[in-house]
Amino acid sequence: MNSIQRAMIIKDIKEVIGSKQMLLPMIIVPLIMMLILPLALVIGARYGVSGINGMDYMVKTLGSKFNELDNSQLLFEIGLNYMFPVFFLLIPIMASSIIGASSFVGEKEHKTMESLFYTPISIRELFVAKVIGSAVPALVVTLLSAIVFGIVMNIGGLLYFGRLVFPNIKWLILIFWVSPAVTVMAIFFMVFVSAKANTFQEAQQMSAFIVVPVILLLLGQMGGLFILNNLTLGILGAVFLVIDYILMRKTASGFVPEKLI
């Protein structure tokens, strides 16, 4: 990382911290998804033993794999390894689309993009610096969320299984393979949007499109269509990377001052 990219990251972080509109969702969404809901699972699993409503199809798909588990353990296991991985994917998408929207569309909206074009960095350097500048804070938020989630889950693991349950292979794939790929995808999507959207809000509304595949993942799993195992997550990460490459080629060639001022 060179000094320009470092300066861009510091600037983008300060911009996010300085704006309630950006900062609040960056705090609240991870808190709900990765702290409050997991805490509810840890506490609720003990009492919600009579049945696992709405997840019957998923349990059927899992088959005999978890036959030996009691209902509390089963609920906890499904939460840890099948439900929260999908929720978790929303964190990098949310963080990178907020920072990306600010970094690309926000700069256009606030007429600061043109100020950047007058500095002695090439358009390619600026593009790379802005992508890295958006990705690093988003990944930090994602990693912090994973750490908080891991602490809560390990408390649950000790309660229900008598051992630490986090991180397992699935979560390592999710954190270090799928999340970075999905982060970059959301950022490139924002770059793509930046040539069309004129305001931060407009860009944020368009970012809803990226959440759709994640919702489909959640519904597909709950409906018993498929199960997110290590292999499917590995493939998912690879698919995201291919999409990243295509989006990068497309957005980099479209990242020209004429379209952004």
Partner: protein, 301 residues
């Protein structure tokens, strides 16, 4: 050496919307060039073209001898730009903005600190340097933009309405600073404005632009010669008789074109002899405003 040179520079959008048509001019190093035109005349487009952030549709141009289509990064190292379309980060403080742009210009932390201190002090922003820019007044934001444009000690300075929104004292400081930069350091200033009186006060060279077309270019005297300008006498009085080819000004005075000082005496004698009363008589030469409108109308006043 010419600091800026354009040859038939042209910019059109979508092939038909012409923002700048076949513009050719050259500006020597150290000049303060007043680029004068109304809003939408093509001033900002020209600044963007000269800084290589817009691609010309035709012709070519160079800044400090460097082609604007090939050497953008090098040009940006030598140029400082302050326009109404290139603003500062509102959620960062003044000093944070300068630190950020200084870093992008490859300056060391010590150099940024030293230069920021001098500029903020001169532009009277020292007390507000830690406040977020969104809390700044319009004038303060403009002064901070000037500080950013000057941070890396540029050789060519592009300024778009630098004193608009400033109080008289701050405007005087900025004007003094621009003159000093030009005279003492040989900085070439490309000043876009539609404030003609201000331009007349500060510029050494003028260019008039209207609807993307360059109407005239030169020093004040050169432009006067181009328009074959005349002197005239303005008279305020009572019962003033009809005088051939006189015109009434909006202040209620009459204005008559003259060739020499003797004409003034002759006109005054004529008025007095015909019973007119003269309270005030003043010889007037064309000012920049007269020149500008003359070029815009394409005829002598």
């Amino acid at each position: 050496m010419n600091a800026i040179e354009t040859i038939n520079l042209k910019k059109s959008y979508n092939g038909n919307q012409i923002a700048l048509s076949d513009t050719s001019f050259s500006i020597k190093q150290g000049e303060i060039f007043g680029f004068l035109g109304s809003n939408g005349a093509g001033k900002t487009t020209t600044v963007r073209l000269l800084n290589g952030i817009l691609e010309p549709s035709g012709g070519n141009a160079s800044v400090m001898g460097m082609d604007i289509t090939k050497n953008q990064v090098e040009i940006h190292k030598l140029c400082g730009v302050m326009t109404e379309t290139a603003l500062m980060y509102e959620n960062l403080s003044g000093i944070e903005n300068l630190n950020f742009f200084g870093r992008l210009h490859g300056m060391s932390e010590a150099a940024i600190r030293e230069r920021s201190f001098v500029l903020l002090e001169y532009l009277e922003l020292t007390d507000a340097k830690n406040k977020k820019v969104k809390a700044y007044s319009t004038g303060m934001k403009r002064r901070l933009s000037i500080a950013r444009a000057l941070l890396h000690s540029p050789k060519v300075l592009f300024l778009d309405e630098p004193t608009s929104g400033l109080d008289p004292e701050a405007a005087m400081n900025v004007t003094k600073m621009i003159k000093q930069l030009s005279v003492e350091q040989g900085v070439t200033v490309f000043l876009c404005t539609h404030q003609l009186k201000y331009a007349e006060e500060i510029c050494t060279l003028y260019g008039f632009i209207h609807k993307g077309r360059m109407l005239g270019m030169g020093t004040f005297d050169e432009l006067l010669k181009q328009r074959n300008s005349k002197r005239y006498v303005e008279i305020r009085g009572e019962s003033l008789p009809d005088i051939k080819s006189s015109e009434l000004t909006h202040e209620g005075k009459i204005r008559i074109t003259i060739q020499s000082d003797d004409d003034v005496t002759r006109i005054l004698q004529d008025i007095l002899s015909r019973g007119g009363k003269v309270y005030e008589a003043r010889q007037v030469k064309w000012n920049l405003e007269d020149l500008y409108f003359s070029f815009q109308k394409g005829e002598n006043l």
